[in-house]
């Protein structure tokens, strides 16, 4: 653990939902601290409340108990100046072009049209979307859509980037390439990333920290710090050992979730 103060603090957070078969506890007493500049991955079986936790950090879901602090201040609602979210299926506005989608957050913040257009246009280059500014989402591939969605989040210039299985809907090859690309973006922008995934590969390849969650009700079962240099080789003996360790943790929870 480093001495830097944590940028994100989650303390004893519990969340229950009302389902048709009665109350369901989605999260139980979850605590986690993430320091500034970290790439923290939440991994765990389906329905373990990863997305709920992310929603809370984004201010879209309120906890029943416990509290969440971002930059020392409690989360009371969406705060796009500090926290930007990338959703699982891009969630682009189909009536807006790629450029206009990237501009969306700045538009809501009242940034003058010319300035936000320039910010968005400057982002398209590193996103690999230079020639696609005027394209509508239906004209873009899955990977491109997700990059537009990431551009929309980056345009906010928030310190924190929340990513809810951003590559979950992509094919394996695109996924790997998008991971490499994201790593590059992260290292250049120095954002703090909270990344939800099902993929062991993504967790090991990208993160400085991996938090394994239990089957419902979700708790933090284990948190590993990963110190290997980037870019990482998945074949190194250290990685192979870590992968085995992580898998055994997740396997147990996934089995419980299947029951």
């Amino acid at each position: 653990m480093s001495a830097r103060p944590a940028l994100i603090v989650i303390e004893g957070v519990t969340k229950r939902y009302l389902s048709s078969s009665g109350p369901v506890e989605a999260l139980h007493d979850v605590s986690l601290a993430v320091e500034e500049g970290a790439f923290c991955t939440l991994i765990g079986p389906s329905g373990c409340g990863k997305s709920t936790l992310l929603g809370m950090l984004g201010g879209l879901v309120t906890p029943d108990q416990g509290r969440l602090l971002v930059d020392g201040r409690p989360v009371t609602g969406p705060d796009p100046r500090r926290v930007a979210t990338v959703f699982q299926d891009a969630g682009l506005f189909p009536w807006r072009t790629a450029l206009q989608n990237v501009e969306f957050g700045l538009e809501l913040q009242g940034v003058p049209a010319e300035r936000r257009r320039r910010t968005a246009a400057d982002l398209l280059g590193p996103l690999g979307l230079s020639g696609f500014a005027e394209k509508y989402p239906r004209e873009l591939s899955g990977g491109m859509k997700q990059r537009v969605a990431i551009g929309r989040a980056l345009a906010l210039d928030a310190k924190i980037l929340l990513m809810d299985e951003p590559f979950g809907a992509l094919d394996e090859q695109t996924r790997v390439l998008m991971g490499e690309w994201l790593l590059d973006i992260w290292r250049r922008t120095r954002k703090t990333v909270i990344f939800v995934t099902h993929s062991l590969h993504e967790a090991l390849f990208l993160s400085t920290r991996v938090a394994v969650m239990t089957a419902r009700p979700g708790r933090i079962k284990a948190a590993l710090d990963l110190t290997m240099e980037y870019p990482r080789s998945m074949e190194s003996s250290e990685m192979v050992a870590l992968r085995a360790k992580l898998w055994s943790e997740i396997r147990e929870e996934s089995l419980r979730a299947m029951r």
Binding site: P78, P80, T85, F87, G91, F93, W95, G105, R152
Partner: protein, 250 residues
Amino acid sequence: MTLPVVGLRLALLALCLALWEVAGRTMNPLLGVPPSAVVPALRDLLLLRSYPDLLSSLALTVREIATAYALAVAAGLGCGFMLGMHRLVGRAWGPMLAALYAVPAVVWYPSLMLFFGLDAASKIAFGFLLGFFPIALAVLAGIRQVNPQLVVVARAYGAGTVTVFRRVMLPAMLFTLVGGLRTGLALCVIGVIVGEILGSKAGMGALINHAYGLLRTGDYVALVLVTLTLVVGSDVLASLLEHRARRWTE
């Protein structure tokens, strides 16, 4: 539009007119009116010779349509959004609205005449009745079309209720909504004119009734043509509105 499209259109029009001319000439002249006979009738009508009160009748019908449509839009949007935004209210009353729409509206017309009399009010009421449903139902369908994930995205990016409505819901439902508004206008026009034909003392429908009743078939066809122009004109207006709306959301 490309030249072949225009050409084909004109060709079909010419064919129809030719068939009409042939058919009109072989029929009893009291019933069949070939285009060649319509032209002088139309001239007399437009020069206010056959029906001196054409302009005031036209103005009355347009006024009735405008009033009926304004009421239908206001009530349709109001009802639609009320049912669409409140889940419970929508679940309770939405199906009733749809069921009511399925009733052939003409069955209400006699009672509308009883309530509102033979003057403009009953025509406005009937036009309203026809125009209201497609607008209200289009709002309901439009709201159902909004992808809830986009609402979540907008909220995460700092949008409040009004912004969500303006930036997400309206653009997402725009096509359905404008389609409903267009259908609503067309039905308002039909409602008012049918209302006038079924029983009135003034307006285009009354003139049509008069010409038809006296077997002044040439005048009758000329009046129908003028009314047709009115209907087509209203649809052109609606399509302008559609373009405006599309530009506004972008």
